[in-house]
Amino acid sequence: MIAVPPTAVPPTPMEIDVRGPRVAAALTCAVLVAAFLTDSTMLLAAQVAVFAVAAFAGLRWSPYGNLFRLAKRRFDLGPPPATEPASGPRFSQLLGFLFSGAGLALILAGNRTVGWGLVLLVVALSALLATTGLCVGCEIYAFGQRWRRRAGDREEATA
């Protein structure tokens, strides 16, 4: 019988490398800062599109996620130190889309102060994620999941 050495098991489709969201957050921060400094709605629109792809098509299709995977292969960054469920980071992308999308809409409608204010909020939260790994969107998602479970349990109890 031929002994087959154990092979590393890649993350399941619903699990992602924990480094990925931080890299994406750093890129997001850089793009949005550049958009603000140059007053570029085109650059802002591009970032909104990136958020939309990740939120609606899934993290597998995220442009920044794919850049990170390319960099991992090209520079041999090693296996993931840990993996995490994709649901929280994907929800964060949705929040990023909503806030930056609303910012873009307001800017185009003429309300530049509030519009860019929303964009700068996304800059701050992206910077926080990139530097500390703290994903505020993920925390909101987890809180929402717990709240839904409690509501479901209460419904069952009263049924």
Partner: protein
């Protein structure tokens, strides 16, 4: 130039939040609480790390690894409670996020609380020898 100043201010605020978060994360906060029957039941007569967890909680996995390592060294138990499954217990002990860990004595007294992934050195110092 104004825009540069605004961006710098935003990034400074984010840095301050980042520093505050890093300082808090995983630190031991000592508490004085009365013995609690429910905690005593969960402790099962031993000093216990009671970890409040949640599904999809990635830091909970990292926290559990640290707790298991220190518990094995020092002869403690580790018990996990899903905050969604037992919201009453979480509310009673003001658990606002997962992971949060309580060090529970055999009589049900919560001696300390740690939010996030515990710092192993601080945890060892907390439980002593």
């Amino acid at each position: 130039m104004d825009r540069v100043v605004i961006v710098a201010a935003v990034l400074l605020i984010a840095s301050a939040l980042s520093a505050w978060w890093r300082a808090r994360e995983g630190r031991v906060h000592h508490s004085v609480a009365e013995a609690d029957d429910r905690l005593a039941l969960l402790a099962g007569g031993r000093r216990t790390f009671l970890q409040f967890t949640a599904p999809d909680c990635h830091p909970c996995v990292a926290a559990r690894r640290v707790l298991d390592a220190v518990a094995t060294e020092r002869g403690l138990r580790v018990v996990a409670v899903d905050v969604g499954a037992d919201p009453g217990l979480a509310r009673q002990h003001r658990i606002l996020r997962a992971p949060t860990t309580l060090l529970v004595e055999p009589d049900g007294t919560a001696r300390a609380r740690i939010g996030g992934v515990p710092d192993p050195a601080e945890l060892r110092e907390l439980v002593g020898f």
